[in-house]
Symmetry: D3
């Protein structure tokens, strides 16, 4: 019985994430998905709450025939404690899938096996690109599973991204307390 761990911010969840998880589902017996930076929302780079992202992911993974755990992971901002933090919040897992060098390094220093998943048209399927398209009014719905587009519409996600973007704060300075 192999439980695999996969983590992302999912701002929003997209077809690239879906492709990777479908690959993992072919070999693992269960999947644990960490929703990173769970405490962030209503920012240009992080428009959606953890709850909204969980809804997107579970809606998209209904067809996967193995157990899937979707767990919000709040930042702790101390890299040396991050693996212990993740492990305390999710069911035990046997290996992790990640192509992020820092994530790979932190798990490797704890001697946990890491695999890099094959990516699917990475430049197109990225949260950055999708948020940019939503902001500019370009087509974005084709890049995400149907249930994701539905959640974004229901919560007024397009309007939220556009209104937040009018803020003159930059990416490191986007809390409501930062206006002039």
């Amino acid at each position: 019985m192999t439980r695999a761990f996969y983590i992302g911010r999912f701002q929003p969840y997209h077809n690239g994430n879906q492709y990777v998880l479908e690959q993992i589902a072919e070999t693992a017996d269960a999947i644990v998905i960490g929703v990173g930076s769970a405490q962030l929302s209503h920012e240009k780079e992080n428009p959606f709450t953890a709850g909204e992202r969980i809804l997107m992911i579970t809606g998209s993974l209904k067809r996967i025939p193995i157990p899937v755990y979707v767990i919000p992971i709040e930042d702790i901002k101390r890299n040396a404690l991050w693996v212990a933090h993740v492990r305390s919040m999710v069911p035990p897992f046997d290996l992790i899938y990640s192509s992020n060098p820092l994530v790979m390094r932190l798990f490797a220093e704890e001697t946990i096996p890491v695999q890099s998943p094959a990516m699917y048209e990475r430049e197109l399927h990225s949260g950055t690109e999708i948020r940019r398209r939503i902001l500019k009014g370009e087509d974005w719905e084709q890049l995400v599973p149907g249930p994701v587009a539905e959640v974004i519409r229901e919560i007024g996600g397009v309007e939220r991204i556009r209104q937040i973007a009018r803020d003159d704060c930059d990416v490191n300075d986007c809390s409501p307390d930062r206006w002039l």
Copy 2:
């Protein structure tokens, strides 16, 4: 479509929780379960990590025919922000089930509908009683669903509870930094 919210610490998850959730499942279309004080573990009152508790709950709810979300909720220690905290971490819900007066008050002040679930032999089916029995070596397995007993055995939960109990720290003073 009605999504119901139910929250507890689940230290551990027991037949009383199971009874309530099976009742809720008969009327709701989906259930969101918050695992409270998610950041606590290895304490007399809070022996299990959030990940271990999630495993107990999902193992016990396999037969429930509606979608179930099991989400860790870290404490924020500011009651006036607690409802907003919960709502940001979980999918949107329509009503909550709780018999805790403070939880009921906090949701009611935000005008969210609250219902008190019928309880099932409450004195017997409580985390306090089950932890006491584990500690004293009395029979406890009959008070929890099978998968819960299995998780506790696999993680060495009985030994953990007994070793922690040898600590002379009291309930408010149980961090490892508190010895003399």
Copy 3:
């Protein structure tokens, strides 16, 4: 020009506080009032939010003819930093009035002058006694200035104290995450 500092939790503000502040107002040119444990509310010992307490205090001090600053002070739980924390949050002051030994000690170690105000029927005029009377349905309104009773009524404060008290959590364990 002498600015005096006075601090309390004001759960709720009462005639004893009013008496002390009227005494201070006779010698100082301005008063800075710190509302301590500002982040706490909806607890048996701390039922009211900082905003509600500020409303009680300013309503009661309308007649005082010198400038009054009412400032919420969140706990930092590090005594060695507490004086620096207070000083960063409030306008500069010249002396403090307190009869709390720890407050007196912390300011004295920073060589800030401390005076102990004359108290007014201390056992009767205490937050503890007033909260007890509200809970038990005994007469409490005579112990607080008129505007305080008005604020408590408007926000449903009596009902809040009574509902929270039904919680079986004890004083150190009153967050909503602590139920069984």
Copy 4:
């Protein structure tokens, strides 16, 4: 009875803020002013403590004939909790005045009415411009109410801004721990 809420960082308070508040005072019965990022000081973008900013604001608003509450608001860095945080710290209010898109969005999602105040020569009257002038030795006193200039002089604010600016840390990296 209408209580209006207005929030800013006030680094420092200036004639543009004063203009807006005088407008609000003509229609509201009371004003609540939130001093945002209250925990920050001694940074290029945030040179003044909350206490110093409160002194600037109250000194400038002496002539306003309605009650004014000036309340420090510490950052919480979780946008989804920010409105609840603000509301717990200040007296209840009926509408907010803001031209910051994120603030407007966050309050609107909680269905609290938002109005955009008319601005007064916005480019000139901004904290950024005033801090730049102080740093460069250009005339800045005409951009702030008299009491603000007085506070800045008394606390050695000009020297503080200039000394901090010699730091080679950039705006996101200005804590004392960040030198090489």
Copy 5:
């Protein structure tokens, strides 16, 4: 080369600690001493700052012929992360000496070797007993190494303990914000 880890709160450091460390020094090549609850001070149970405690310890260990590292460890209040926290703050170590069951459990779950040191008249040589004697004016200096008594005298430690004790706050409620 064996580096041993030993942790305590050292409120204050006493002959029992000294006895254990002298034993450890006979077999280890270096000792790492963690000063737990480093952020606490000016409390009945935690009267001394981390800096004061470091001074006591290093003064008492001058004669030990192997390298000694004395490191403050702030509480993190998440037991599942505590071992990772400690390990990030101190030089690498090979085994730990502790007789605290929770500390032993947490290290053992990370498969780090734990040894229980022989204790020396434990009831007499405890921080609790020494603080009690200081408070009551009984003889305490014989229970601590000479340099500890000297540090306590120099910082006015006796007066601090007595003044703090006049506070009516109990052990869980000793921050300056907790008075009535």
Copy 6:
């Protein structure tokens, strides 16, 4: 008896730090070294843990004939409290050596004497330059004391810096939760 305080991030400790400390050791009776941003590690700008940095420093200072205290200092991100934070964590000191304008300002506002140490080929001897050389495979060992090079080799520090650098996160966005 003069105790001097010196603070840096020491990512890593280098010959420039060594030069300054040897100068200080000629006039002071004891040195307290604060290891700043102690909670950070595994970042491009902060690759090493506090424990690793303490090992580098103590290994390099074996020959210094006066007592040396090496103390990790976690960030608190509130400049107005930073001096109180430092003072609570380290033994009392009489003057500080720093060439960082913000550190100088914060201590000066608390009327603690500050001296600027003579620097030694500052551009060459900086953590930034050494990390750049490690990353690029250029010669860096000549810029640090021998024990520092040894620690970096033993912990796999070169590989850590290179692997982390493959991350596409920028300097303000380097937590593991920030990937796309």
